[in-house]
Amino acid sequence: MEHYTMNLTLKVWRQKNKKTAGKLESYKVENISSEMSFLEMFDVLNEQLIIEGKEPIAFDHDCREGICGMCSMYINGQAHGPWQQNTTCQLHMRAFKDGDTIVVEPWRSAAFPVVKDLVVDRSSFDRIIQAGGYISVNTGNAVDANAIPIDKKNADDAFMAAACIGCGACVATCKNGSAMLFVGAKVSQLALLPQGGPERESRVLNMVAQMDVEGFGNCTNTYACEAECPKGISVANIARLNSEYLKAGLSTEEN
């Protein structure tokens, strides 16, 4: 693809802290290379702000290679911007044209409060994982990886579910702010494998209970999450979560 440079107008959400109200501020950036990543473009803008003596924009990032799930930005009305199955750090500026205006907002969800500017607190996801995302293993030497036979399809499906990077795009995108795709992936990756067996019931019940405590919304099956998930997590995982939950709810002896 031909290299080109562009001048852009950015409208970025600025918010001092959790308590204050924020607003969109306009910035201009010039000579942005089409080969930069979206976050590199933000680095350029922040350098510019620092030189001007202004407060740089706070945004989350870590790996910058699409695997950590930190780079939460709602770009031009879509989680992680216009490209499919892609994170913000892997979005490149060739997705935009010279003269474009780009609106950048943080994830908006009651369960992901804004910490500052574009940074949100996703620890609600961590608490859901803590509620059931573990398995029992014997200590001592690691068991031979092939000791337990696993059906190929289950292994594949579990692997696909395990690809979830906990980025929160599903929640950010869902009109109901529902975390069902994330929780569906976390429950599925263990429910599909024999290693997940011992906690199978309690896991789904506890994770769903924690999800509700955190204030995520309810799934109404719009499937917007699947369309925006950078890892292509399928809504079949939500159905699996539903059936695991129904079965566990019916068979559990606890209230």
Partner: protein
């Protein structure tokens, strides 16, 4: 939501089936007979209670979803493009449902109330068919019905397959079949319903 929804879907089959009797074009004889049977049968009266409970439960569940989901996103995006990732009708079940409820109020006050008044005032043979003909000679009533049925179409289009996902059924082989059944069901039922006021308005049925 899914269970009550599928329950109401079952009811619609009966409703559409009975009403389709008007298409026999026998001056409403069969239709009036069946309607008479339905309103003078204690099993039906009993099922009616179940039907209304199902409907009210469906509405309560919907309101609960709506309020919880609103709380889950207290601040809206300034710029959002939901059409890039989902279908409008899947995001509009609440609005479609509200339209349906408004329509239902009109619909029940048109026919249900009249039938009940006739029943309890001792009118032995209430001519529902004539009442329909009279109401549906009015073009704006016909228009309201067509709008109501369109809302029903999109509500069912999303609702049917959505119910199965909620029950935990998402299967490579069965889900496409379920979707097909849902779309066919929505199409057939809604065409049947829409044709009733339309064909009476244009006097295809006399």
């Amino acid at each position: 939501m899914g269970i009550t929804g599928l329950f109401l879907i079952l009811f619609l089959i009966v409703h559409a089936g009975i009403n389709a009797c008007i298409f026999l074009n026998d001056n409403g004889k069969t239709f009036n007979d069946v309607a008479h049977f339905m309103s003078h049968n204690w099993i039906m009266r009993f099922l009616e209670i179940g039907l209304f409970s199902g409907l009210i439960l469906h509405i309560i569940q919907g309101l609960k979803l709506w309020s919880q989901n609103n709380k889950a996103r207290p601040i809206e995006y300034h710029y959002n493009q939901p059409s890039k990732n989902s279908k409008w009708y899947s995001r509009s079940m609440g609005i479609l449902g509200t339209l349906l409820l408004l329509f239902l109020i009109i619909h029940l006050s048109n026919f249900y109330v009249g039938t009940k008044v006739a029943l309890y005032s001792g009118d032995q043979y209430h001519n529902l068919f004539e009442e329909m003909k009279e109401d549906f000679s009015n073009y704006w009533i016909v228009l309201i019905y067509v709008i109501g049925v369109s809302a029903l179409y999109w509500h069912l289009y999303h609702g049917f397959q959505s119910a199965f996902q909620t029950f935990g059924i998402n299967h490579k082989r069965y889900t496409p079949i379920l979707k097909f059944i849902g779309i066919t069901y929505a199409t057939v039922i809604c065409i049947l319903f829409a044709l009733m006021p339309i064909s009476m308005f244009f006097k295809w049925i006399v």
